[in-house]
C-alpha cells in the first residue's frame, strides 16, 4: 500500500488497497466476485481504492499479510490511511463495484454466491463506519474494471460486455 | 422406421444426436430431463432409449429405474450414456436396468452397431 499523487494512474491489485490525493487516479481490474471499494473525501481531495476478496477476517484460518483481503479489515485500514493523509472521516463518501456471480449452470448453486456475500459485508462495514454509499454497480454476472479520479470523485466502471458507465 | 428417444439435458448433445441418428436412418425424439423423458416414452413408445447418466435433479439411474418399473415402458431397451466411462458406472447402469452403455463423445458407428444388436436380439 503506497501513497502517490499528481496525475498518474496507480494500479490496485487483488487483496490490496492504495490511498492518494489530488490528481492521482486509482484503478483496479478484474473485479469478478471481488468488490472494489472507493472511499473519497471531496473536501480534502483524498481518496482510496480497495480490492477485497472475502467478507470477514474471522473466517480466515491463517495469518495474512494482506488486511485488504477482507472487507472489514480492508476498509478500516484504508480509512486509517486516508485520515493519516489528511482526510476527514465525516466527509467520506463511498462507491462500490463488483460482487458478481461469474458462473452460470443448469442448476443455481448457493456456494457460488460469494460475490453477493462480499457486497453485503462491504455495505455492513460502511454502515458501521457511517460512510454513505453514493454510487454502486454490483452483482449480476460480468467482470468489471474500476477507475477512480480522486480530483473529481468520478468513478468509471468498464465491462467487456456492457461498455462503460459512471457511478 | 426405428424410433429413438434421447434423454439428455445438454441442448448441444440433443442436437448432435438428432443429426447423427437421423442420418443413420432413425426417427428421433428428444427430452431434456428425466420427467419429460419418462412421459414421452409412455406416450410415444420408442423402440430404444438413449439416456444420459448425469443430469441435474433426477439422474439417469433413477430415470432408468422409473422406466423399468412402468408397465408401458419397461420393455423398451435403454442404453445409458456418459462422459465419465468406467466399469463402475457401466455396472450401475446395468443394475438399474440398462442393456448397454456408451461413452461420450459418442462414436455414432459404435452406437449403430449396439442399437442393431439390441433390436436384432429383440426380434429374434
Amino acid at each position: 500500500m503506497t501513497t502517490k499523487e499528481d496525475g498518474k494512474t496507480l494500479p490496485v491489485e487483488i487483496a490490496d488497497f492504495k490511498v492518494a490525493k489530488n490528481s492521482a487516479v486509482l484503478e483496479t481490474t478484474s473485479l469478478g466476485s471481488c468488490v472494489g471499494i472507493v472511499l473519497y473525501d471531496p473536501v480534502n481531495k483524498i481518496g482510496g481504492l480497495a480490492h477485497i476478496l472475502l467478507p470477514d477476517s474471522s473466517i480466515s484460518k491463517a495469518q495474512t499479510s494482506s488486511p485488504a483481503k477482507f472487507a472489514d479489515t480492508g476498509i478500516r485500514a484504508m480509512i486509517e490511511e486516508m485520515i493519516k493523509l489528511g482526510g476527514q472521516k465525516n466527509c467520506f463518501r463511498a462507491k462500490i463495484a463488483g460482487g458478481a456471480n461469474m458462473f452460470e449452470s443448469v442448476l443455481p448453486d448457493p456456494c457460488m454466491a460469494i460475490g453477493e456475500r462480499n457486497v453485503e459485508a462491504v455495505k455492513k462495514v460502511l454502515a458501521e463506519e457511517k460512510i454513505p454509499i453514493v454510487g454502486e454497480d454490483t452483482g449480476k454476472n460480468y467482470g468489471r474494471t474500476l477507475i477512480f479520479y480522486i480530483e473529481t470523485g468520478k468513478v468509471i466502471v468498464k465491462s467487456a460486455q456492457y461498455g462503460t458507465k459512471e457511478i | 422406421m426405428v424410433k429413438v428417444l434421447v434423454i439428455d439435458d445438454s441442448r448441444f448433445f440433443q442436437q448432435e444426436m438428432d443429426f447423427q441418428l437421423r442420418h443413420a436412418g432413425y426417427e428421433v425424439i428428444v427430452a431434456d430431463n428425466a420427467y419429460k423423458g419418462v412421459e414421452l416414452a409412455k406416450k410415444e413408445r420408442p423402440d430404444i432409449i438413449i439416456l444420459d447418466l448425469v443430469m441435474p435433479e433426477v439422474d439417469g439411474l433413477v430415470a432408468c429405474l422409473n422406466l423399468k418399473s412402468n408397465s408401458r415402458t419397461k420393455d423398451i431397451p435403454v442404453i445409458m450414456c456418459t462422459s465419465y466411462s468406467n466399469t463402475e458406472n457401466a455396472e450401475k447402469a446395468i443394475e438399474s436396468g440398462a442393456v448397454g452403455f456408451i461413452s461420450k463423445p459418442v462414436d455414432i458407428n459404435l452406437l449403430k452397431v449396439k442399437i442393431q444388436r439390441i433390436l436384432g436380439a429383440e426380434h429374434g
Binding site: 491489485e13 487483488i14 466476485s33 480466515s60 495474512t64 | 448441444f12 442436437q15 447423427q20 462422459s83 468406467n86
Partner: protein, 207 residues
C-alpha cells in the same frame, strides 16, 4: 506431512504432481482430438507456487478474454478443476462442434454454442479425472459444469477467493494444450483440497 502454506513440497512430491496432471491432460487431449479430429499436444506441466495476486499474470493476463468451465469433484479425493480457452479458441472449437447444425435464430445459436462448450468441458474434465482415478485406483465424481465467458481475472477470482480463505499463496497445477494443426490454446488447472494431497502422496507410495 506437507503444508501448502509452508510451500514445503519435496522434489519427489512435485514430480508426482506433475506426472498426475500430465496424465490427466493427456487423456483430455485424446478426447478433444477425437472430437475435432485434430492433433492435440500437451505442454510440459507446471507446478507453481505464487502469491494470489500474481496468478492472473501467470495464466496469461487478467484482461485476456476467455471461456472457462469450472467443476467440483468428490470421492476419494476432493477439489476443483478449471478448464479455460482463449476466446478465439472457444469460437473455433464451437465451429467444429456445431458444424452439422443449423439454427433458426441467433439466440438459439448462442444457447447451443454455450451448451456445446459445457458439454465439451464435461467430456474433458471427465477424461482428466478418469485418468487420475485409474492411476490411483480410486473413485471420483464430477459436478455439473459452471460456465463463464469474460476477462480471465474476473473469471478466476472465484477460485482465488477459495484459496485466499486459507493462504496468501496459490499452488497452480497447470497444463497447457495446443495443436500443430489449428490455432488453439487451452489450460487445465486442478485444485485438490489440502487433505487430498496427503491421500495422493500416500497412494503413490511416498510419505
Amino acid at each position: 506431512m506437507t503444508e501448502i502454506n509452508n510451500e514445503a513440497f519435496s522434489l519427489i512430491e512435485l514430480d508426482t504432481l506433475r506426472e498426475i496432471i500430465n496424465m490427466g491432460t493427456a487423456y483430455s487431449a485424446t478426447s478433444l482430438s477425437k472430437l475435432i479430429d485434430k492433433t492435440i499436444l500437451v505442454n510440459v506441466p507446471r507446478v507453481d507456487i505464487a502469491p494470489i495476486k500474481k496468478v492472473p499474470e501467470l495464466l496469461g493476463g487478467s484482461n485476456l478474454s476467455i471461456v472457462g468451465l469450472y467443476f467440483k469433484f468428490y470421492g476419494n479425493i476432493d477439489g476443483k478443476i478449471f478448464i479455460f480457452f482463449e476466446k478465439e479458441t472457444a469460437e473455433l472449437l464451437v465451429k467444429y462442434l456445431t458444424a452439422n447444425m443449423t439454427f433458426s435464430n441467433v439466440s438459439e445459436q448462442k444457447e447451443i454454442e454455450k451448451s456445446a462448450l459445457m458439454e465439451l468441458g464435461n467430456i474433458l474434465a471427465n477424461s482428466y479425472l478418469n485418468a487420475i482415478a485409474e492411476m490411483m485406483d480410486i473413485k471420483i465424481l464430477l459436478s455439473i459444469p459452471y460456465y463463464s465467458s469474460d476477462m480471465l481475472g474476473a473469471v478466476i477470482d472465484f477460485m482465488l477467493i477459495e484459496i485466499a480463505k486459507f493462504t496468501d499463496y496459490a499452488l497452480l497445477l497447470n497444463t497447457v494444450i495446443e495443436s500443430p494443426e489449428i490455432k488453439i490454446a487451452g489450460n487445465f488447472i486442478i485444485f485438490p483440497e489440502r487433505e487430498s494431497f496427503e491421500k495422493i502422496f500416500k497412494n503413490v507410495g511416498i510419505e
